[in-house]
Amino acid sequence: MKTKKQNYSKLSRLLSLFFLLLSIVWLMPIFEVLMNSFKENAFVNLNPFALPNSESFVGFANYIKGMTFGNYPFVKSVCYSLFITVVSVFLILLFCSMSAWYIARVDSLLSKSFYYLCLFSMIVPFQMVMFTLTFTADKLKLNTPYTIPIVYLGFGAGLAIFMFLGFVKGLPLEIEEAAAIDGCGPVRTFFMVVLPMLKPTLISVGILELMWVWNDYLLPYLVLDRTKYMTIPIHVQYLKGSYGSVDLGATMAVIMLSIIPIILVYMFCQKHIIKGVAAGAVKG
């Protein structure tokens, strides 16, 4: 590659220039938030498109204020969001990969009916079950950040199992048979033999579920006890509802803080994200 000098045509240079400009335009909304997060409240309202100047620039004061202001500091929502996301994704990856393996290997009524139910659940929009799910979650005390991952496991199982199954079905049976003949029980076979082979799918499914749970608004909003617990999207919507009465600069800082982690993750595993997202395209 190094010896071959890339020859770009004139048209291609023009296209590059065009896309460079378009990219800048594309990033403007994010830049807009970043810029306003360094301005004092009054100046955000006055002209949201002006760059920070010596008068309006407040440094990182908005970030500190944003994390701590009000009687429900944002940092609390961040912690709940982190906890819920990590635990839910972990549960989904572990239990759904186990179930998918069972369904693929055992030909019974239970595994068949579970499989068809999973397929069916993929075409059901959340609105169909949201009110009744709230009742069930309240009754079973699943309305806290510590128990809501069970709800995520239940509602997310369909797609996750479907994606795992697609991969498990392609695994050669001989390896598992060899393990069994060597005296390896099903549990050890799964964790020592099957799970390592599932790694690429674990990453794709994991990223997909991560983005879903982290950004999800309606499920936690309906299920959680709202007076006690908020997640980041719930908190952002809450701040928007009190437009004008809250510090806009601080809110912009808070929004920036909720975007940054996900952009960092994107930077580090872009390839997997794009693959995972495309794989999730099957959900109706």
Partner: protein, 298 residues
């Protein structure tokens, strides 16, 4: 999997005994998180209820109310219009970008990264960001985003285009890269010009990607909730035949607000949810059918 092979297989039989470990946790959560709420949802759509305990069977009267509700009909029209506009806009732009980026151009990977980025941001945050931008722009003309239904509609179109173009672009790029070099070369040798190559070779070969993306944008538009709620919340509202109608409300938000605003309409909201489910399910099944038939042609 043949039955005879199953019985002698050393892997299958022991696993059965481990069903409680492998399948039960997920199955139990699935019953709680999906199966039971779904069944109860169907049942409650035929009831007048506040909580499931005080549910009273009312037959199809909830459904009759759904189809005579001005708010729901308005939301349906909105959703259909929104779907048509966003399908065309998103797919045309995404395809053009994908087509250009698969030509030899410098920085193609960087541009791809940038265009995909808005996809990572949650709908609520997107709504907040764009409502600030639109309000900032409209303020110069002495107005604001929720002053007028047209602003809200096109605002949502712009927001969703910004969010989803990158996603569809990825699918189109994958489709375009799968076209064999030989075929392109053959077209060139046969003297096809750029336009002919595009319409006679490229587009027919990326038809599966076009089908996927069209249906994706369609189902996404039908299920749109977060962005709609966070951008305008359905505002402004007007009075129409004595009923309050939220002008920029889409179906999913309408279901939600029906439930929250009127305690006596919980059953109607659930009936709307069932109608909504049937709509989305039909679209999803049609997508599967269309994708399958394309695969056969190939």
């Amino acid at each position: 999997m043949a039955k005879s092979k199953q019985n002698v297989n050393p892997v299958q039989r022991p696993i059965r005994k481990f069903a409680p470990i492998f399948i039960l946790p997920t199955f139990a959560a699935f019953l709680i998180g999906f199966v039971w709420p779904f069944i109860q949802g169907i049942y409650l759509s035929f009831c007048k209820f506040n909580t499931p305990k005080d549910a009273k069977w009312v037959g199809i009267s909830n459904y009759l109310k759904v189809f005579s509700d001005a708010g729901f009909l308005n939301a349906f029209k909105n959703t259909a219009a929104f779907a048509v506009v966003s399908i065309i806009l998103i797919n045309v732009i995404a395809f053009m970008i994908a087509y250009a980026l698969t030509q030899k151009i410098r920085g193609a990977n960087l541009f791809r990264t940038v265009f995909f980025m808005p996809n990572l941001i949650g709908g609520v945050v997107l709504g907040y960001i764009w409502s600030m931008i639109f309000d900032g722009i409209l303020k110069r003309y002495g107005t604001y985003l929720t002053a007028n239904g047209t602003y809200g509609f096109w605002g949502l179109v712009i927001l969703v285009a910004w969010q989803q173009i990158g996603y569809m672009m990825i699918i189109y790029i994958a489709g375009l890269q799968a076209i064999s070099e030989d075929m392109m070369e053959a077209a060139k040798i046969d003297g096809a010009n750029g336009t002919q190559t595009l319409f006679k070779v490229v587009i027919p070969n990326v038809m599966p990607a076009i089908t996927t993306c069209t249906f994706l944008t369609l189902t996404n538009s039908f299920k749109m909730f977060d962005q709609n709620m966070a951008l305008t919340g359905g505002l402004p509202s007007i009075m129409q035949n004595g009923a309050k109608v939220n002008v920029t409300e889409l179906l999913a938000l309408n279901i939600y607000s029906t439930y929250n605003i009127n305690k006596n309409w919980h059953g109607v909201a659930q009936a709307k949810a069932v109608v909504f489910f049937i709509l989305v399910a039909v679209l999803a099944i049609a997508q599967q059918a269309a994708t399958r038939s394309k695969e056969v042609e190939q």
